[in-house]
């Protein structure tokens, strides 16, 4: 944490879809940014610096697209930073932007994250042929399915916990007008009958490929005092990274995730996350990652995460709603998916989440991960000034 407080005073996102053919890449990011500025009642001119993030450039086929997007994001004449930390990038980008405020370098920062997956083919971009390494031809699902199987074996979880998460997050998405997948009549039978892609992950237990963007305006305390709506305050934020290839790694319950969570809880003064947090937006691209992250983040003891999910506690109306927005399972513009988690957490504590609002949410966790479960970014935001 820094010497200066950081407030989130504006939040915007696009309507996420499989193909946003009505807009260019510039149009997509501008749509989210303009909504964040409107929420903050600020203009492009008010912004001091722009921090942008996205996942690999091959997802669109544009190298270092921040150069081309400088005009669309009103960055001309300002500092512009481009972050890329794999799937966690939306979170890392928000954290880099927050540090500009917390370090006292700038007063009003616009941060944006996006992916326009329809411009290319993510499955191709995720399956590179690298000399001297086995080719990963099955995309992200092929990488993560063995970790899910290991989790099920280790925890003794019943087979249907994944089905339950897939249904729950899609029911949440029906309350979120921006969500990509809004599946009417979604139920266990529909998920169970969908094709098995990477055993045990079925089609409806995996995230979609989306076009979408998310943006936030962050300011110093002095600027936030004039904000038209109550801000969300940063109570804690951090990142952790660990290697890909290392025999000592536990990829099911990675140490980087545990360390990152401990760091943000300490900053925020949280001793019992299940008690002290109203809800959490976790990066769950495959249904089973909900119980896995519940354990990794200390919401449940090792081996117990699935019981929390099975109890219904993680649904809206439960004791600890997870992904009230519908999560990554319902909208997945990869580079923006992490920032959406951070932004949705902030929307909750600003009482701004509409139909998927958790009543009286005072503090919430935003979480993102990337690479082979090795890059983590998290923040805790609160209604009260820290």
């Amino acid at each position: 944490m820094g010497a200066n407080r950081c407030a989130i005073v504006g939040i915007g996102q696009t309507h996420h879809k499989a193909k946003r053919q009505d807009v260019s890449i510039a149009g997509l990011v501008r749509e989210a940014a303009a909504r964040a500025l409107a929420d903050a009642e600020l203009t492009w001119k008010d912004i001091d610096a722009v921090v942008i993030g996205k996942a690999p450039d091959m997802f669109e086929g544009v190298m270092m697209p921040e150069l081309y997007l400088a005009d669309a994001l009103g960055a001309v004449g300002k500092p512009m930073l481009r972050v890329h930390t794999a799937g966690s990038v939306g979170g890392s980008t928000a954290i880099a932007a927050a540090h500009l405020v917390m370090g006292g370098v700038h007063q009003r920062v616009l941060t944006v994250a996006f992916e326009k997956q329809s411009e290319s083919d993510a499955m191709w971009a995720l399956s590179p042929k690298i000399p001297f390494q086995p080719q990963l031809t099955a995309g992200a699902g092929g990488y993560f399915a063995p970790l899910v199987r290991a989790y099920i074996r280790r925890s003794g979880a019943p087979d249907d916990v994944g089905l339950q998460v897939a249904v729950k997050d899609r029911l949440h998405a029906l309350k979120n007008p921006y969500a990509h997948l809004r599946i009417k009549g979604i139920d266990r039978a529909m998920v169970a009958d969908s094709p098995m892609l990477w055993d045990p992950i079925r089609y409806l237990e995996t995230c979609p490929s989306s076009d979408g963007a998310c943006a936030m305006v962050m300011t110093s305390e002095a600027i936030a005092a004039a904000a038209p709506r109550p801000p969300a305050w940063v109570h804690g934020l951090s990142t952790r990274s660990e290697p890909v290839v290392f025999a000592g790694r536990d990829q099911v319950n990675p140490q980087a995730g545990r360390d990152c969570a401990r760091d943000v809880y300490t900053q925020a003064g949280i001793s019992d996350p299940r008690r002290d947090l109203a809800c959490a937006e976790l990066y769950v691209p495959f249904s089973w990652f909900e119980p896995m992250w519940l354990e990794n983040l200390g919401f449940a003891a090792p081996g117990e995460g699935w019981k929390l999910t099975a109890s219904g506690a993680t649904a809206l109306g439960g004791a600890l709603p997870i992904n009230p927005s519908g999560g990554v399972l319902s909208s997945n513009p990869i580079g923006a998916s992490g920032m959406l988690r951070f932004a949705e957490a902030a929307m909750q504590v600003r009482d701004q989440a509409g139909e998927h609002q958790v009543d009286g949410a005072r503090r919430a966790l935003g979480h993102a991960y990337g690479g082979g479960s090795q890059f983590f970014a998290m923040w805790i935001v609160g209604r009260d000034r820290p």
Partner: protein, 352 residues
């Protein structure tokens, strides 16, 4: 602002084609050397951040495997920018302002030899209306050089003389790639690459890596005898559409210099990231540097230009000269994008 200094810099000799080493093998030796100079163990580093570009490697997530070079176990507090390492250094400088950590490691690597660099850089342009034209990086730089010549600010002979001077300076730099001395007359005898640019006015294509260590306040003073203090650092971007810019000027460099406190002061040396010879003229004018300032004593990007590395190397080269007593105050600059679209300026100073 909190006092932060560059306390170590290490780089690999730039080469046209490194066929023996993967990215992680390029990064590991410079990280080890920089940490040794800084008298730091890797587990003592508060924040690690790197700069690199997937398109140079022709594969996604290239930074992921390179991270193994810093042996990130136990897990580390880390970030990555898809930019020149100079911007990674800026992120680290910002991070250190928060006050809760005191040291940062920055590294950058680039292996342009794996592809056709001018063609790869076409993919950096507006994908809808500019990239399809196929104008490559040398062609766009040639447009800029032509505009500068037409404005009467430089001649083709002037570019050759500038390139000859950088070669003379690079002869003293074991990490430079173009070190053989040539007279301006010899250079002018080369054919055009894209008129008015001959090979000597264009950068070499390079593979390389470098690393820098930053430390704050008393930690910097404790670790090394003469830290190179960052007195100001700022960067600004310009429009992407070339038609919206005056290519003979660099208002973003000027603005960044103003914000970094680089205008009007006296400098002993300047390290300017000018991949093309004429860009050095534009930058010198934007920064208001007079003849008393030693420009690019390292030989600059005309002598070695590993992409994503050359900007951070300018900051490292300037800092090293201050730390070894070859000057007291320096300005260092990094650029990104076609025709100097995005520019960073850093003022460095050694204690008396």
């Amino acid at each position: 602002m909190r006092d932060v200094a560059i306390i170590a810099f290490a780089q690999l000799p730039s080469v046209r084609r490194d066929v023996t080493r993967e990215e992680v093998e390029l990064v590991q030796p410079v990280v080890a050397a920089a940490l040794a100079q800084a008298h730091l163990r890797r587990e003592d580093v508060g924040f690690t951040v790197s700069g690199s570009c997937d398109y140079l490697l022709g594969r996604p997530f290239s930074f992921v495997m390179a991270l193994d070079a810093v042996a990130p176990w136990p897990p580390i507090h880390e970030s990555h920018v898809e930019m020149d390492g100079a911007w990674a250094l800026w992120e680290a400088w910002v991070r250190l302002q928060a006050g809760d950590i005191d040291t940062a490691l920055i590294y950058a690597y680039g292996k342009s030899s794996l592809g056709d660099l001018p063609e790869v850089l076409v993919q950096q342009l507006d994908p809808y209306v500019v990239a399809p034209l196929g104008a490559d990086a040398v062609g766009l730089a040639a447009l800029q050089a032509r505009a500068l010549i037409d404005a009467g600010r430089v001649t083709e002979r002037g570019l050759a003389e500038l390139a000859a001077a950088r070669r003379r300076q690079a002869a003293d730099n074991p990490c430079a790639q173009r070190r053989a001395p040539r007279s301006a007359d010899e250079l002018l005898a080369e054919p055009y690459q894209v008129a008015p640019l001959r090979a000597h006015a264009c950068p070499p294509i390079s593979d390389g890596a470098c690393a820098v260590v930053l430390a704050a306040g008393d930690t910097a003073r404790r670790l090394v005898s003469s830290p190179a203090w960052i007195r100001g650092i700022d960067h600004r971007i310009e429009p992407h559409q070339l038609g919206m810019r005056d290519l003979t000027a660099s208002p973003s460099t000027r603005l960044a210099a103003e914000r970094a406190g680089a205008l009007g002061g006296r400098f002993d040396l300047a390290e300017l990231h000018a991949p093309f010879a004429h860009q050095e003229v534009i930058l010198r004018d934007a920064l208001g540097l007079d003849d008393g300032v030693a420009i690019n004593p390292s030989g600059g990007a005309l002598s070695a230009n590993p992409m994503m590395v050359a900007g951070l190397a300018r900051l490292g080269e300037a800092a090293t000269r201050l730390m070894t007593g070859q000057g007291r105050r320096a300005v260092a600059h990094a650029t990104s994008g076609p025709c100097l679209q995005h520019n960073l300026v850093c003022v460095l100073e050694r204690d008396v």
